[in-house]
Each structure stands twice: as structure tokens, then as C-alpha cells.
Symmetry: C2
Subunit: 83 residues, 2 copies
DNA sequence: CTTCATTATGCGCCATATCCGATAATTTTT
DNA sequence: AAAAATTATCGGATATGGCGCATAATGAAG
């Protein structure tokens, strides 16, 4: 369950995994996000030049959001660090 | 402590806040991230068309990373949801 | 008020996103 | 194997990023 994104490729992988969990096709997700199927494809394959607002639209369509946090540690493992 | 970013503007605000906490100028941060001061300025003012890899470079320079998580919920408050 | 540092804007340039439309290439289903 | 659905790619058009270089516009100090 890797939900952290340090690179465009990691981000694409996360988005693809969650999209499939939701049982959506790229086309369907694109419609929800106001984007084309081709654009979703690019994002999921790790295109580094994707616009940030495009990524945010996709996250919103999946009921997700970005969080900015300290680097290192595993996704849900560093609870100690929060306190 | 608003570390969530649903919009380019929120993202810019978060980055600016943390940059200042680190006592860095835009120019200094730009050097660490391999970007120009002007580019940092654009990001912090919420430019929606910034490239995702550019954003990631800035986060890395600040020892930060993105996390993709469910929308809603408070930043570090929903520990219950992790388990 | 004056000076110095920081941040925001401007122009030209090349690269590329995203769009539209079409179509390969791949995967899934029958 | 064949058909259907999904995903990846191509060409053209329009728009804008981020670079270099320069310079305003603000802000912080003295």
C-alpha cells in the first residue's frame, strides 16, 4: 500500500492502483476529472511534465488529496513521528 | 499547520510557509532544487500549470514528500482510519 | 528616506501539455 | 480465435512552463 509519491512514476502507480480499486476505466476517470483518457494514460505512466492542476483534478475525482509531509519513513508506519 | 494541498494555491502556501521555517530565500531554495528563483515564486503564488516534477523537486529540496490520502479528515488527526 | 535583499514580472526561445480526432497495441471477455 | 473494451500513441493546433537575462515592485534594515 504505497501511497507516497516522490516521483511522477510513483504517483502514476498510486493513481492507477486506486482507480482500479474503484473499478473505473481511464475513460471514466477522465470524464469525472474533466480530462481525456489519453491524459490519464500519460499520468499513470509517469509523465514528469504533467501539470499540477491536472494531477489535482484526478485526485479530486478519486476523492483523494495530497498531503505534504516529512520525507523518510513508511506511509503509515511513522506514527511516532506525528507525536 | 495546513499540510494538505487540494489546489495549486494551497500547495504554494504550504511550500512558502515551510521554506520560511527553514530560513531559506526563494533563490536559495531554487538552487537546492535546481530551479530559478522566478520558478519558486510562481509555485508559491499558486500557478496551476506548474509541472509535477518541478513541484517534486521543490519538495525534495525541503526534505518533504507527497502523500496521497482520502479527502476530508484532518491532517494528522485521523489515525483511527489507518488501522 | 535610503540602501540592500527579496520577490514578482517581462520578453524571447524551445520544449511539451492537453486538446481534438484517429488509430495502433494490448488486455479482457465471449 | 474473434470480438469488445481498454490503454497507448500519432499528427496538428493552441497554450504555457521554465530557462536566460533584465528589471520592476516590495520588504526589511539602517
Amino acid at each position: 500500500m504505497n501511497d507516497l509519491a516522490r516521483t511522477p512514476k510513483q504517483l502514476g502507480t498510486v493513481i492507477r492502483r486506486i482507480r482500479k480499486q474503484r473499478g473505473l476505466s481511464q475513460k471514466q476517470l477522465g470524464e469525472k476529472a474533466g480530462l481525456r483518457q489519453e491524459t490519464i494514460s500519460l499520468i499513470e505512466t509517469g509523465n514528469p511534465a504533467t501539470r499540477i492542476d491536472t494531477v489535482l483534478a484526478v485526485l479530486a475525482a478519486l476523492d483523494l488529496e495530497f498531503r505534504v509531509g516529512p520525507r523518510g519513513k513508511g506511509s503509515a508506519a511513522d506514527i511516532e513521528d506525528i507525536f
